[in-house]
Symmetry: C2
Subunit: 354 residues, 2 copies
DNA sequence: TTGAAAGCGGTACCAC
DNA sequence: GTGGTACCGCTTTCAA
């Protein structure tokens, strides 16, 4: 990227186009916005001239007039407050500079996947201009997403993707990379070869399968190869997680490492404690919540892979706003690089959230 | 953070204040902006009323009128292009939504610390409204920073701080945390106890000393404690770095880990290669540049601590703009959490930069 | 010291 | 289909 000479003269405005063509600003406006009531030929001439002059709309002026602020609804669960509140903070932060042109309305559903359809319908009915959602049940959302698309209401998914839905983009930590980082850390943490277990929710979920693929890829890439001896599906259920963790521990007395690829890591830690193996097995977990903090401080959890909700929120809102403001399309997926949180950077992370 | 009820009625404008007080909008403007030619009593009444009504300026409208866009100068070295270009990208990205109200002028100095005084003086003379700089020589910048402060030109430091300078804020990876993360990774990477060396530039530099402190803190916190047997100052000099690395390697045949806390890691890697110990010693480095990439892929470098230039750029510009736009003061220091870059997330990081 | 009024760039409405 | 123009909220100038 080479340094350009510093900025050119004065930005070209709608009036410049009008003058150059001998038409009125009203006509230019109609052409630029695909409004009805304009001759196709005139429209083309205007568009060409606009492109030739390098016209860039002045967003400030635009929103000054159209008193109707852009309304964005955000649907997120309450469930794990620390995580979702961070996401909300990121959205708020990114939205702040555009107030009052942009107004953000937060609506919560109790848990991921519960009540999201109702919220979605209400939002569409209330005429919002855009939507940020964490899809708990992509299949249920699919028909709604088509309705939204029909009325040109863009949707941005956060945290998990819903690839079958009609969405503008999705913002999330890349699951393959998340798994790969966990795998690399674990194999480096082990003194030599050693047995490793992988805990997940449902392997049917694309995200989780991707994490496993990334995890395995890392194990293979490492010279002192670790053996993946067990893949446990806990179905996001605490009881099941606990029981299956006990079973896995008993089946593999030589186990040296565990990666829990969902947020559901507490049951596994409880099982480790029950068997007196806390601190003897290297554990890598997912995300961060209050109950995990003491385990990290104590060294029971070597690292946790953090999906950076604040950044996800910021990026989701920025992408959505840019699209609504001037039609800029973001890439199909926005992938964040996950954070590795350990004892040494835990405090700083908590401070920033606090 | 509890959910607030959704937005209130219509935002309060300057006219509302004027009407409520029976004065003109001009008077309100003068009061709000500390402009001369207004009665102290009137000003106070206006300020009180504004506060009472909860007035928030409409930035869009503001910049629409004052054709004089905010000018921000950015002074960064050319030296390690990948790093500084990333920083510039972050700045550009954050500035984009505010164009053409905000214009950013990039000026480069050849290397960190070279020619920065001249650039600084030119910028002040040209009447910029704000400055983003990477201070190579804080002492030299100090008097200039006072001149800037006198004319109310805010300065934001990036990458390194210059605490003795008169600055609005500084954006950087927290050096203590950077060192602490490196220390924790290294001690976890070692199979058991083991000898470790720490390479730095000048320990007199506050940043570097902080990194060492963080590093040592982590070593102490770890149960299987590693021994820090050597602290090497390379003075950012390639030759010196190489020679001292050789010396350190020869003095410590049992060395198991190395942390290079400056960007100057290549000489150390060359020394390792020369002694046939590449891949036998766990190495943690700083930042990322093309020549380092193959070493990470090959596993010679286990991890590198990345100071996230893109984010630094974004945050620096956002903080500066917010201050120039509506006077919001950022915290004294903005600390980023460094990234841990390893083989498993290297590609994603490079992709985002490319 | 203060008020009145003219725009900034774009949108929306009315009249032709 | 098109041109003219009032107006969004704020800053700035000029006159009082």
């Amino acid at each position: 990227m080479r340094a350009r000479p510093n900025p050119p003269a004065r930005p070209v405005g709608i009036k410049d186009i009008a003058r150059a063509l001998g038409v009125s600003t009203g006509t230019v406006d109609r052409a630029l916005h695909d409004k009805p009531g304009i001759n196709a030929g005139t429209r083309q001439r205007v568009l060409d001239k606009a492109a030739a002059l390098g016209y860039r709309p002045n967003l400030a002026a635009r929103h000054l007039k159209s008193r109707t602020s852009i309304r964005v609804a955000v649907h997120l669960p309450e469930e794990i407050a620390l995580f979702w509140d961070s996401l909300r903070d990121g959205i708020r932060e990114a939205a702040a500079p555009f107030a009052p042109t942009l107004s953000v309305e937060f609506r919560n559903n109790p848990r991921l996947g519960e009540g999201e359809v109702e919220l979605f319908e209400k939002a569409l009915a209330s005429g919002v201009n855009g939507l940020i959602v964490a899809p708990g049940d992509p299949a249920a959302l699919e028909p709604l997403s088509r309705r939204a698309a029909a009325t040109r209401v863009p949707i941005v998914c956060v945290v998990t993707d819903a690839p079958t839905c009609e969405r503008l983009t999705s913002v999330s930590a890349d699951p393959f990379t998340v798994g790969a980082v966990a795998g690399e850390l674990l194999s480096r943490f082990l003194p030599g070869r050693g047995e490793i277990a992988f805990f997940t929710g449902w392997l049917g979920t694309e995200d989780h399968a991707e994490k496993l693929r990334g995890f395995e890829a890392s194990l293979e890439a490492e010279a002192r190869r670790a053996d993946l001896v067990s893949v446990v599906e806990a179905h996001d259920d605490e009881q099941a997680g606990y029981r299956r963790a006990l079973t896995a521990l008993d089946a593999h007395p030589e186990l040296k490492g565990i990666y829990v690829s969902t947020v559901n890591s507490l049951p596994v830690l409880r099982a480790l404690e029950r068997r007196g193996r806390l601190g003897k097995i290297s554990v890598v977990t997912t995300d961060l919540f209050p109950a995990l903090v003491p385990h990290i401080r104590a060294g029971h959890v070597a690292a946790t892979i953090y999906q950076r909700p604040v950044s996800q929120g910021r990026q989701a809102l920025a992408a959505l706003y840019r699209f609504l403001a001037d039609g800029t399309r973001p890439p199909k997926r926005i992938k964040l690089i996950p954070h590795v949180v350990m004892r040494s950077n835990l405090d700083q992370l908590l401070g920033r959230m606090g």
